[in-house]
């Protein structure tokens, strides 16, 4: 735009009149339904907006009180603990994305084996978890984690030969003692979300693998490189640039995975599996604390912005190494 600096802004706007005509309808509606709520949210975040204000929208200005309440865990809701929720959210995201990526790549590599039969058929079946609407999958998994009659405990019982009664969704205790902050419900949520998410990484990795010419592997074979060497020296470096955007997307998705957490464990027991987006929902429904919820939403927004900037930087940094 530097070369246009001698033209006045008004002149520029006039020249591009047609462009604005095209944008106008969506800009007006977007302004009303996206931008205005965000501005309204910023205002609400500094007020004590609650249920009574739905009829009389003149709440009191309370300054930073909502933010202070959130950061000091003073929000009047059961098991509200911002810092535990945030920490759990980070652990949850990395555990999931790590498993998605490793399982996805392992299956993609397996499906990329030359002369393997039934590849197409396998691929079609393996993407089923992605095709099922996620909220329905989450509800099904909740049923399967039932302590007495759920499929998971039944199958474990028949494999091990004795009755298995893992309290997947009811016990706040941790099955692995060192990871004392991760209750059984975390593993139930994790299994559900790994099931939901591995097909996406598999499909992306498959696409990336297909772009690697097979001659490279043949040349490596002649040079006496073993399977391990081929994977770490050829496959991984060559699919990395295609995987990174998918991993970034996976991080944001998992960080905000409302359906799995809310429908499988409900954030419980005792708030041990709460993540930020499920907490945000509970502040509105049933909480009715619209002012606090607005402040909470803004905090979530800035956390996400931070994550995006960090992952973007890591992506760029690793790209320059290739």
């Amino acid at each position: 735009m530097a070369d246009k600096s001698d033209i006045s802004l008004w002149e520029q706007l006039r020249r591009h009149k047609l462009a604005y005509y095209y944008i106008l309808p969506s800009a007006i509606v977007m302004g009303l339904i996206t931008a205005f709520p965000i501005i309204y949210q910023i205002w609400m975040a500094f007020t004590n907006f609650n249920i009574t204000n739905l009829r009389n929208p003149h709440p009191q200005f309370v300054g930073l009180a909502n933010f202070i309440k959130i950061f000091t865990n003073q929000v009047p809701l059961e098991n509200f603990n911002f810092w535990r929720t945030f920490g759990f959210n980070v652990v949850w995201t990395f555990a999931n994305v790590f498993l998605h990526v490793t399982i996805g790549i392992s299956l993609a590599v397996a499906l990329n084996t030359p002369r393997l039969a039934l590849k197409k058929f396998y691929r079609t079946l393996l993407v089923i978890p992605w095709a099922v609407p996620s909220y329905i999958s989450a509800l099904i998994w909740r049923n399967m984690f039932d302590v007495d009659f759920g499929a998971v405990n039944q199958i474990l019982s028949s494999i091990l030969g004795h009755a298995v009664k893992i309290p997947w969704l009811t016990s706040p205790n941790a099955p692995i003692k060192i990871l004392s902050f991760l209750s059984y419900a975390f593993y139930a949520d994790l299994i559900t979300n790994v099931w939901l998410g591995f097909p996406f990484m598999m499909v992306v990795a498959t696409g990336a693998l297909q772009s690697i010419p097979h001659e490279i592997y043949e040349a490596a074979e002649i040079d006496g490189v073993n399977e391990r060497g081929k994977f770490f020296k050829i496959t991984l470096p060559l699919i990395r640039s295609a995987m990174l955007p998918a991993i970034m997307l996976g991080i944001v998705w998992t960080f905000n995975q409302f359906n799995v957490i809310y429908l499988v464990s409900g954030g419980g027991p005792l708030g041990t599996t709460e993540i930020l987006v499920t907490q945000a929902y509970k502040i509105v429904n049933p909480g009715g604390l619209y002012g606090v919820a607005s402040a909470f939403g803004l905090i979530v927004f800035f956390i996400l912005l931070g994550i995006t900037l960090i992952t973007n930087r890591i992506t760029r940094a690793t790209e320059s190494h290739i």
Binding site: I33, T34, L107, L125, F258, F301
Partner: protein, 285 residues
């Protein structure tokens, strides 16, 4: 010969690994099918058979005749509500997004970069983070408890993605086609309506279906905004079934299958576009 045997063994091992994951991938689906055919409303199929003893379609008949236990709302009404909301969302997003995407694709104008960046930023906000202001604004406008309010709320989430998706496709349509039309005496609007839109039909169809599927499956905003059972959608009703103290499991399973089957069919048809759309957005975003 020896090499051949080694490859065979390797393939056997790979088949076993893949089949293990296929079993994991399809087990919940088999479980739900089995549950839906079960004659008794129990929490689980009594044995691990795909088709249980005395298999019956009565659960399907039950949910199709009286899907919502506590209130006499018909399946047809719920289906109509879901179609209305999903169709309305899809139509509104395509109508709004196609013109904006055209401008972003073809014109350089002040505010273009900020506009595109703004769309990405709004994409990043999860629905629950903006729930409070949406709830309040729609309440104050007296449309919160209606299907129209829901369409507006859904469109606010799907328009940014629709713009990205369509802009990506418009970028691939050669500019020369429009320039030729402009030389022949078309104006910009005619070029857009008669050349770009028909040529972009596949992208518009895909964008429409994305919006449709989102509206069809969403339950969280609907559950928060709507209180009258005659406005309920299929997705809400399914969620409500699980929320009851005594969940009718066979009916729940049958209902899940009825709702997700169309989505799965559309998903398999659109698979290619879903993958490319997501990775495109991710690379550019």
């Amino acid at each position: 010969m020896k090499r051949h045997i080694i490859e065979r063994l390797k393939h056997l091992y790979i088949h076993a690994y893949i089949i293990l994951w296929i079993v994991i991938a399809i087990f919940p689906v088999i479980w739900i099918v089995s549950m839906s055919l079960n004659p008794i409303d129990v929490l689980h199929p009594t044995t691990l058979q795909i088709i249980p003893k005395n298999a019956t379609l009565s659960a399907y008949i039950k949910v199709l005749t009286r899907p919502y236990e506590a209130y006499p709302v018909s399946f047809g009404k719920l289906l109509f509500n879901s179609l209305f909301v999903a169709g309305g969302t899809a139509l509104l997003s395509v109508a709004l997004a196609s013109t904006a995407a055209y401008a972003f694709s073809r014109f350089k104008f002040p505010g273009r970069e900020i506009g595109l960046l703004g769309f990405i930023v709004t994409q990043m906000l999860p629905a629950t983070a903006t729930l409070a202001p949406l709830f309040v604004i729609l309440t104050l406008l007296h449309i919160r408890n209606t299907l129209y309010g829901l369409i507006v709320a859904y469109a606010s989430g799907s328009v940014p993605f629709a713009i990205w998706n369509l802009k990506g496709y418009f970028d691939t349509v050669p500019k020369e086609l429009e320039e030729a039309a402009l030389v022949d005496g078309c104006d910009r609007n005619q070029a857009f309506l008669k050349i770009i839109l028909p040529l972009s039909f596949p992208a518009i169809a895909v964008t429409f279906l994305f919006g449709f599927m989102n509206g069809w499956m969403e339950w969280m905003l609907a559950w928060t905004f709507l209180t009258k059972p005659e406005n309920f959608t299929l997705a809400m009703t399914l969620y409500n079934m699980q929320g009851q103290w005594n969940t009718p499991w066979s009916q729940f399973a049958a209902f899940s299958i009825i709702i997700s089957l169309p989505v799965m069919i559309v998903w398999y048809l659109l698979q290619r576009y879903i993958v490319s759309g997501l990775t495109l957005g991710a690379v550019k975003g």
